[in-house]
Symmetry: C2
Subunit: 100 residues, 2 copies
């Protein structure tokens, strides 16, 4: 599995973060990550196909919200909550709160 | 001038609000409104044509972020900040803070 790109948090723009979160499925993924303590190894419980989920995870990763690391035959998904809070204080946490 | 539609704040979804704010021009409009105390009568200082600005104002209005009222030959633009804060606490205020 090739290495995945993750933007430096300083290079992430607020509109790209908001755009990534402006979708029910992606909000659900981020909420499930937060509820799982920030890390999910394996699958998310969302009503979409694997390929659609894969697209959503890519959008979240490219917006700096998600760190994805291969671990053997699965992927570790980590919410970049503290980095995001340092960059845009209160934005992700209030969105998570409002979406729950 | 025909009356403009404004959604009831309870009917507004979080993804539609985030989508409306996921744009540099619309963020600028909302920030200029906040800096002006919530109300702007007349024009915004944004580097787009009148018709493009008109589109952006419509997106903000339909997402419940903006109340637009005709006043004689101009329009009064009001940020629905307190309604939005009651519906999604901290979301708009933290985005405004992060975008300034």
């Amino acid at each position: 599995m090739r290495a995945l790109n993750h933007p430096d948090i300083s290079a992430v723009s607020l509109p790209s973060v908001l755009n990534a979160l402006a979708d029910e499925i992606r909000l659900t993924v981020v909420r499930q990550l937060a509820e799982a303590g920030g890390v999910v190894c394996g699958q998310f419980d969302v009503p979409v196909s694997m390929s659609t989920l894969s697209h959503h995870l890519k959008v979240l990763r490219e917006a700096g919200l998600l760190r994805v690391t291969p671990e053997g035959s699965f992927r570790r998904h980590e919410l970049r909550l503290s980095e995001m809070e340092a960059r845009f204080p209160g934005v992700l946490s209030s969105i998570l709160q409002a979406s729950s």
